[in-house]
């Protein structure tokens, strides 16, 4: 298997990788925003 063939997905690379990148962005974004929420909350709790 060669890599450029693998990434091109028979010409459907945009759709296939686009799907997995969307998954990464949505789920990664959820994790990042949760981490921020947690940190902000910790700060507030400490201040009181």
């Amino acid at each position: 298997m060669n890599w450029s063939e693998f990434f091109s997905m028979g010409g459907y690379g945009f759709y296939v990788w686009g799907s997995y990148i969307t998954a990464l962005i949505l789920l990664g974004g959820e994790v990042v925003s949760l981490r921020r929420r947690k940190r902000a909350l910790r700060k507030r709790v400490k201040r009181d």
């Binding site: 759709y15 296939v16 799907s19 998954a23 949760l34 929420r37 947690k38």
Partner: protein, 242 residues
């Protein structure tokens, strides 16, 4: 061991904190395993489908999660309402966002599959439309809860919406049988021999397991945030009054 103890937010908070890393790590491992099976071991083409079929692993897992998490959310919202259990209502609020994200993901990946396969990004097909309604139900639940200031009243209103909306889940599931849809029928049915090769089936099931573990981890993290936010507010109120 007294499990009822953990129905109280203060006891549940540290327990959830200990469990989160285990779920997160196993989700990451299973996600990698699913990608290995799906992209390395599974064939390049599947029957009459070309390489674009690889979208199915994440698409099906996301669609299932969207439905499962909705039912779970409605059950927790219902328990919170019927038994006046704060923690259950908080769990419902926490589940809503992750469920909405998976539903959105299933719509986007479906669209990315539909364009090269059917020649269109979108169709007002029974399954796609009912899945869009599922996304609106999640958004409705989230915005209804944030629009009402009184927390317990917000929980109650959310529970009513969530429980009424449950009817949509079997509609999504059976839509491909009840109506003549553009969307294809179920790929995997219980008690039937699956219509796919075993590495593909393994990739799909492992991906689903990874999404479950991921959901448990993020829902618990969010639940801990919600517990802190709500309980802390309650403390502020009493301190302010004293």
């Amino acid at each position: 061991m007294n499990w009822y103890k953990y129905a109280s937010p203060s006891a549940f908070y540290p327990l959830a904190g200990k469990m989160i890393p285990w779920f997160a790590v196993s989700a990451a491992i299973l996600f990698a395993v699913a990608m290995y099976f799906g992209f390395v071991l599974a064939p390049a083409r599947a029957g009459d489908q070309n390489q674009v079929y690889h979208i199915i692993f994440i698409h099906v897992a996301a669609a299932w999660m969207g439905m499962f998490l909705y039912v779970l959310m409605a059950v927790y919202a219902g328990i919170g309402w019927a038994f006046n259990a704060r923690l259950a209502s908080m769990m419902a609020s926490s589940l809503a966002i992750t469920g909405a994200i998976f539903t959105l993901l299933s719509l986007v990946t479906g669209s990315l599959w539909g364009k090269p396969t059917w020649g269109t990004w979108w169709a007002w097909d029974a399954r796609i439309t009912s899945t869009l309604i599922l996304l609106f139900l999640y958004i409705g639940f989230i915005s209804l809860q944030s629009a009402i200031d009184d927390q317990r009243r917000a929980d109650k209103a959310g529970a009513v919406l969530a429980l009424v909306g449950v009817i949509n889940v079997p509609i999504i599931y059976f839509s491909v049988q009840w109506w003549n849809t553009l969307h294809q029928g179920a790929t995997i049915r219980l008690l039937e021999k699956p219509k796919m090769t075993s590495p593909m089936l393994i990739a799909m099931l492992v991906m689903l397991a990874a999404c479950w573990l991921y959901s448990i981890a993020v829902v618990l993290i969010r639940l801990r945030c919600i517990i802190l936010e709500r309980e802390q507010n309650a403390a502020w109120v009493t301190e302010g009054a004293a």
